[in-house]
Amino acid sequence: MNSQIAERPMEILLVDDNPGDARLTAEALKDGEVENRLHTAKDGMEAIAFLRRKGRYIDAPRPDLILLDLNMPRMNGRQVLAEIKEDSALKHIPVVILTGSRDMDDIVKTYDLHANCYVTKPIDFEQFIMVMKSITDFWLTLVKLPTEEN
């Protein structure tokens, strides 16, 4: 159904306001086995602009996967998630909530907003690499999703 997966690098949009966190996710992805191109948005406004190809994102690719942090200034992760899931052009893109929070309220709220999964960043870096590998393996190679044209 989606044979191009193997032929081009996977486009991942990472939305995280903390450069340290964003870099860490990038490093963890480097150690994974899925070939990918990582795009970073530093808050929700940038993420939405990227997804809708606004302004300097006019040529932005449609991401295959969105990694979304929850606590960000201007527009937080929950707002971004709500906006993505209400947009028929974007709602099929898998959104993985990647956050430091273990708060059950956060978990429930984001699933209510149709997050595809919720992952708490482990403190241990080796575990984090494992987590990133599982996420990319699962969402980028294992799962069949409708293509944009569908």
Partner: protein, 381 residues
């Protein structure tokens, strides 16, 4: 019969009767005027007779009070309640004194407690009142209420503080820990051996801090994130705790048994955690032989007491209090890993359930942890 004959004797002799009446009056007069309780007779809402103590409480001379409406001394906003209470008591509906505020001649407000009884005075219906000054007690009560409130507030604040601290510190700590690990991963054997050692210590320190923060967070969650109480079957609770400890139980060859356990009012998740910590400790601090853990329970009125007994290494009685403090450890991390939070969390859970926790143990002879759950005295749901 004897009593009757005596009475008829009295009736027969008026001079004896007059003497008795005189004695009674004298007795009443002394009792009334010397009483340390404010005492008075009211007719048609006005003072007819007052004693010195009442005058003293109200700040007037006795004769200044005679003929004045008694309700006039009651603080305006308390008057309706006083009237209502007095009527109820006069009708026999209640016998306990009621409290209200009065205003003295010096415009001071005092708290008093009054009782009233219907009597006849000079052949007309009247009210006999007694009144004591309870201002001091009221002030102490008020102060106590205020202090309790302040303490509860500061406790809640502290819990919130611990929660926020441990929660918010995790983020920067994750940075430190992850990047030191990344350094170790990418650069070990590329720098010199000193660098490798320094990085290893930094990684280890960050990991330790993480476990401590996690413990603190769990501890503060007992108070801030507790669930409302419901009826929970303790056998289910113990089974759940055992399921969570499945690997530890299997690996150590432990046998965990329990008697018939009652149903209690409590926070299910926290009770599972409580049993899990205690059974987990019994397995962790074991001797050479496979651990044996037994749980029993007894009930007295609304209090259910549980005992968790093991055949482990035991605890020196001198530590039987301190082991329940946060971050308290009796062993090095090499001997037994852990944060020293487990029993502190147990204590906090038990206290939230209106109970106490204690341990009876001797080194080398196993330990028995006792804790209670008060079905009536715990935090209400």
């Amino acid at each position: 019969m004897k009593q009757m004959s005596k009475t008829s004797e009295l009736i027969a002799k008026p001079e004896v009767m007059a003497g008795e009446i005189k004695q009674s009056r004298e007795l009443f007069r002394i009792l009334f005027h010397r009483s340390p309780i404010g005492t008075y007779i009211i007719q048609n809402g006005h003072f007819r007779l007052v004693n010195r103590q009442l005058a003293y409480i109200l700040g007037y001379e006795e004769d200044e009070l005679i003929g004045r409406p008694s309700l006039g001394f009651v603080l305006a906003e308390d008057r309706d309640a006083v009237r209502e209470n007095a009527v109820r008591m006069l009708e026999g509906g209640c016998s306990l004194g009621y409290e209200f505020r009065i205003v003295t001649k010096q415009a001071k407000i005092k708290w008093v407690m009054e009782t009233v009884a219907p009597v006849h005075y000079q052949r007309k219906r009247a009210t006999l009142g007694s009144l004591i000054d309870v201002t001091e007690r009221k002030q102490v009560e008020e102060r106590l209420k205020q202090i309790t409130g302040e303490m509860q507030r500061s406790n809640t604040e502290l819990e919130q503080f611990a929660y926020v601290i441990s929660h918010d510190l995790q983020e920067p700590l994750r940075m430190v820990s992850s990047y030191t690990q990344l350094l170790a991963k990418r650069y070990s054997n590329k720098l010199d051996s000193d660098a490798d050692e320094f990085i290893a210590y930094a990684v280890d320190g960050a990991k330790r801090m993480q476990t401590l923060l996690h413990g603190l967070l769990e501890y503060s969650r007992v108070g801030t994130r507790g669930k409302p109480f419901s009826l929970v079957n303790c056998e289910h609770i113990v089974e759940q705790a055992m399921a969570n400890l499945k690997i530890a139980i299997e690996e150590s060859g432990a046998s965990v048994s329990y008697d018939v356990l009652p149903t209690v009012m409590g926070d299910e998740g926290q009770l599972v955690q409580l049993f899990q910590n205690l059974i987990g400790n019994a397995i962790k601090f074991r001797r050479e032989e496979p651990p044996q853990v037994h749980i029993s329970a007894g009930r007295r009125n609304s209090v259910v007491t549980f005992s968790v007994n093991d055949n482990g290494i035991g605890i020196n009685p001198q530590h039987s209090q301190s082991i329940f403090e946060i971050f308290r450890r009796l062993h090095t991390r090499e001997e037994y890993p852990g944060t020293g939070m487990g029993l502190a969390i147990c204590k906090k859970i038990v206290e939230r359930h209106g109970g106490h926790i204690s341990v009876h143990s001797q080194p080398g002879q196993g330990s028995t942890f006792h804790f209670s759950v008060d079905m009536a005295g715990g935090e209400s749901a």
